[in-house]
């Protein structure tokens, strides 16, 4: 495997995805859940730019990435605000304890 710039980016994307998913799998803290989601989204943003580069539509990839950045900021804000509300209402941020969706 040669370490050309493109391959390094690809490894970066895979690494970020791996960290994000691993974190989501093991974490029980709501704020950490939001953080892990952010890491996942960063991997996606990187992947968008990367896809734009290799398909020759760099402008399209970059503008989509910019849009995703804006959208995911909103996700982060709303997620953290919800976490604050959850803490106030349930007195805990532990996800299994606040789970009410059990079938």
């Amino acid at each position: 495997m040669n370490f050309s710039p493109l391959n390094i980016i690809l490894i970066g994307i895979a690494g970020l995805l791996g960290v994000g998913f691993y974190g989501l799998l093991i974490t029980r803290n709501l704020i950490k859940v939001v953080m892990m989601l952010q890491i996942l989204i960063k991997a996606v943003v990187l992947a968008l730019v990367f896809a734009g580069k290799i398909s020759g539509n760099l402008g399209l990839g970059q503008s989509t990435a910019a849009t995703v950045i804006v959208a995911d900021t909103i996700v982060a804000v709303v997620g953290l605000a919800l976490a604050v509300q959850v803490r106030r209402r349930f007195g805990t941020l532990d996800v299994p304890q606040i789970s009410t969706l059990k079938g």
């Binding site: 989501l24 029980r28 079938g103």
Partner: protein, 583 residues
């Protein structure tokens, strides 16, 4: 002209439904009046439409490739059923003014009734099979909403859901047949299907034919789907009269009659239709023998009479079946509405608690007896002519065993009808009930319906003329009322049938009267209470489905990490498919 009339017939009740709903339940009196006005207008429009019967579409909207053209065809079959739906609909609404007085949520009630009347007219007038399906589903929805109208009564809710689920089976059958027709002919037009039925490959055509039998049997509560109609009797009685006796349950008969020319040559189709009709007519006649609930007894007899119509179509008597449909709609609406006024007056549906009401409700007694005589098929009344016509067609064109079974059914009909009348109006008084006589609005609609019971048979010639003029694929001979009367009076089938009916009555008065009134034989009771075992089939299906979904609950853990694992797993599956499956 005809096009505008059709749009009015469908549009007026739908507009009325919105208006009645919008003005609100605080103004109950205005709701009553408006509902009567809107339904009467629609009835008048459909009577005028009788003058514009034609085999060509009167309304034609182009909707693009996926839907084809939305057409409305005012041919004889469609207009007859439209008149039945709107006229009996307006009589049922008129009856509701007394029956539903003081009930809460009248807006919901009248909305559903008017929405139903418009949809029923659309269902029969539509020349586009896909829109027939849409209207078909609207009628099923209204039927469900009205059965469950008393939504705080668990029995009403259960009955409504049962009706909805079973009629959906029919809806699936209709949709499957429709899509097969479209796949083979590239058209949803009913006239195209009838004209080009021979183009459709034999296997596809017979699939279509049998899925239409399923559709018709589920909608018309025929064997093996007959179990929903008795439970639908939790609806307010005008609804039982309108939807579950006079109109919606006829949609299945309409479907079979409409497509008879296309399916008649499909091997086994006619025999299957005859079998469905015969079994439905017989087993529900037995169930009516033991029923103790007045409305359930009437519901069983409805299924039984619908069985006669299905049988007539199987034997090739499309006209006979529609003629009986007309008679049955009138006299069964009369019976149901009279039963409604009796139930309204005494406050119970249990026939064992009634008895000797004849002196207290003379008007109700008289009209009920008229309806009962028509149901039995005694001369002069409309039920006689149409039932004899069916039996005559059956004698000529159906297997002998089927004819004999239907004759036995006619005898049973006489027996259970007399039992019913006797238990309600005659015999000994079994319980002190506070009774009041029928209200005025009720009396008006009952009087009109009993006049109809005496006279609608004379429309036979006109009906026949409409049919033969506007149904090019059904190939009907013209016959006037007088010729029909002559033919029936001298046909051996008539005299055999009258003999059997008389036998049923003699049986009732000699050995059956005491037994039938108080308690029927235990073996018959247990058989009929379980609908000859079909109730347990229903329970089995319901239990299996709910057990299966219960066992799926464990997959919904509510654990975030578990759900993430599911997402990642799905991602890997997609990746694997892309990597190896795509190449």
């Amino acid at each position: 002209m005809a096009g505008n009339l059709i749009l009015l017939i469908i549009g007026i009740p739908w507009l009325g439904a919105l208006v009645v709903w919008v003005i609100g339940d605080q103004r109950a009196k205005a709701q009553h009046i408006l509902a009567v006005i809107f339904s009467l207008l629609s009835g008048i429009a459909s009577l005028i439409l009788l003058a514009f019967v034609d085999s060509q579409p009167a309304v034609n909207f182009t909707l693009g490739s996926a839907f084809g053209n939305l057409t409305f065809v005012p041919d004889g079959l469609a207009v007859t059923l439209t008149v039945i739906a709107t006229v009996i609909g307006s009589l049922a609404v008129l009856f509701s003014v007394d029956y539903m007085r003081g009930e809460a949520q009248l807006g919901r009630y009248y909305f559903m009734v008017l929405f139903f009347i418009g949809a029923m007219a659309g269902l029969v007038l539509s020349g586009n099979l896909l829109f027939t399906f849409f209207f078909w589903e609207i009628t099923a929805f209204c039927s469900y909403g009205l059965i469950s109208f008393y939504s705080d009564d668990p029995k009403a809710v259960a009955g409504g859901i049962k009706a909805l689920i079973i009629t959906q089976v029919g809806g699936v059958g209709l949709l499957a047949g429709t899509l097969i027709a479209y796949a083979n002919l590239d058209s949803f037009q009913i006239s195209d299907v009838l004209a080009n039925a021979s183009v459709i490959p034999a296997a596809a055509l017979s699939f279509m034919a049998f899925s239409f039998i399923i559709a018709a049997a589920a909608k018309s509560a025929q064997f093996p789907f007959h179990t929903w109609l008795p439970d639908a009797m939790e609806a307010p009685t005008p609804i039982s009269a309108l939807i579950h006796a006079a109109t919606m349950v006829n949609a299945g008969i309409y479907l079979l009659a409409r497509f008879y020319p296309a399916f008649a040559s499909v091997p086994g189709w006619r025999t299957a239709v005859i079998i469905v009709g015969v079994i439905s007519a017989l087993i529900t006649a037995f169930m009516a023998l033991t029923a103790t609930d007045l409305k359930r007894a009437l519901a069983y007899s409805t299924v039984s009479q619908l069985g006669y119509m299905v049988y007539a179509i199987g034997a090739g008597g499309v006209l006979a079946s529609q003629f009986h449909l007309l008679s049955h709609a009138v006299f069964k609406a009369l019976l149901f509405l009279t039963a409604g006024s009796v139930i309204h007056a005494v406050g119970t549906r249990d026939m064992r608690r009634m008895g000797a009401l004849s002196a207290k409700m003379p008007f109700a007694r008289n009209v009920f007896i008229i309806g009962a005589l028509a149901l039995m098929g005694l001369p002069i009344l409309n039920g006689f002519w149409s039932k004899e016509l069916i039996l005559e067609v059956g004698l000529e064109h159906s297997p002998r065993w089927a004819y004999i079974l239907m004759l036995i059914g006619a005898g049973l009909t006489a027996f259970y009808t007399f039992r019913m009348t006797w238990m309600v109006f005659f015999g000994t008084q079994r319980e002190e009930l506070h009774v009041h006589e029928t209200g005025t609005a009720m009396k008006v609609s009952l009087a009109l319906l009993s006049i109809g019971t005496f006279t609608t048979w004379s429309f036979f010639g006109g009906l026949n003329k409409l049919f033969s003029a506007s149904l090019p694929f059904h190939a009907m001979e013209e016959e006037s009322t007088l010729e029909m009367v002559k033919a029936i009076s001298f046909a051996p089938a008539t005299w055999i049938a009258l003999l059997v009916i008389a036998l049923g009555l003699i049986l009732f008065f000699t050995l059956g009267r005491k037994v039938a009134l108080t308690e029927s034989p235990r073996w018959l009771n247990s058989l009929t209470e379980s609908s000859f075992g079909f109730e347990s089939v229903n329970h089995f299906v319901v239990n299996t489905v709910s057990k299966f979904s219960e066992s799926l609950r464990v997959t919904q853990t509510g654990q975030l990490n578990w759900n993430i694992l599911g997402i990642i797993g799905a991602l890997f599956i997609v990746l694997a498919v892309l990597l190896w499956g795509g190449a």
